[in-house]
Symmetry: C2
Amino acid sequence: MATKRAQMMEETRAKLIRAARQAFATKGYAAASMDDITAEAGLTRGALYHNFGGKKGLLQAVVDQIDQEMVTRMLAAQARAASRWDGLLEEGVAYIEMALEPEVQRIMLLDGPAVLGDPSQWPNQNACLQRTAQTIQALIDEGTVKPLDAEAAARLINGAALNAALWIAAADEPRAVLAKAVEAFRQLATGLLKPKGDAG
Amino acid sequence: MATKRAQMMEETRAKLIRAARQAFATKGYAAASMDDITAEAGLTRGALYHNFGGKKGLLQAVVDQIDQEMVTRMLAAQARAASRWDGLLEEGVAYIEMALEPEVQRIMLLDGPAVLGDPSQWPNQNACLQRTAQTIQALIDEGTVKPLDAEAAARLINGAALNAALWIAAADEPRAVLAKAVEAFRQLATGLLKPKGDAG
DNA sequence: GCTGACACATACGTGCTGTATGTCAATACA
DNA sequence: TGTATTGACATACAGCACGTATGTGTCAGC
């Protein structure tokens, strides 16, 4: 195998990402020290700088990993839905529920945008958002949704879900608030629907 | 006058907030050093710690000030509208437009939540959000809007506007994107409207 | 088996934050 | 009016974290 070194390197990257994910989620990006992270991974800052170029690079790697996981879950949620429209709603609800997890909230919704800038500008191009935009475009094409800019609608829908999630997570009784938020989300989303019998 | 010292203190607070606002907006919270800020204000870190307790306290003060300004502008936007429903839409549009300003974006939308936590937990209680919630509650009471949780709807609407703004600000042609976003926002918001002839 | 390259470790300098202490002016009081 | 005390602010210091520059051991190629 000509890949022994490459394999080792993948392993160290994985260990660093794992430790960083833990530290960023619990302490936040600013308060998480690179010495602690690398020590937790059984390494030193040398490995970190070699593999990720710096602290921001490590955060980027963590963000990319979580983003991928979120897309997977959104696809699963959509696949369970009866119709494409229901699929969009389920995606949104799945997004809200994922954002309840402290890890997602802290890293993806708070520190990520603050440190790396606007999510839509991330190298990964924010796969979650693209998923939603594609679904909305399909709904426009099939005539279910009003003919408006798919990306704009996706941003608004995702933004609504995002803020709902932040609200829920900070609430005293997350479960009760979740129900209210999901209900409001479903109602709000109907604004995108084309009125019945419209010429289109 | 027993207020000479108090007056001086207000002046120093104002100077520090002004300098901090400038620095936070241009360089971001993390990259803005307290030495630079206080020097710009013609003071030292001693004054800063005495008046605001630390860097986070200073950010909080800046956030509160901007929050107040935003409420003022939202009230003005609502006042110009013909109906209460239009007022809600105009508030949203005003919010989007304000979020185009780098100062608002960087401080209120990125660094603020990341450093101080969820906006709804801020001491000031996020006046912008409360405004929107009040307006929606009034619309529910008058029968224009479906009977749902006003706070939930406000969070979703504000979140949608917020993300639209982040998107616009990062776009190559902000003006063109603004038009698309505002249109999508207006359409989305109709999801809150009660269907005509509904019993309510 | 030797050499070059690469992955990672170690050491050091710099800058920033927070605190502890000092100083001077303004108020209160006699 | 003179003095004591409070409080606003300045200064000095310690600790920590980041980034870089340099060193070291191990793996592929000839």
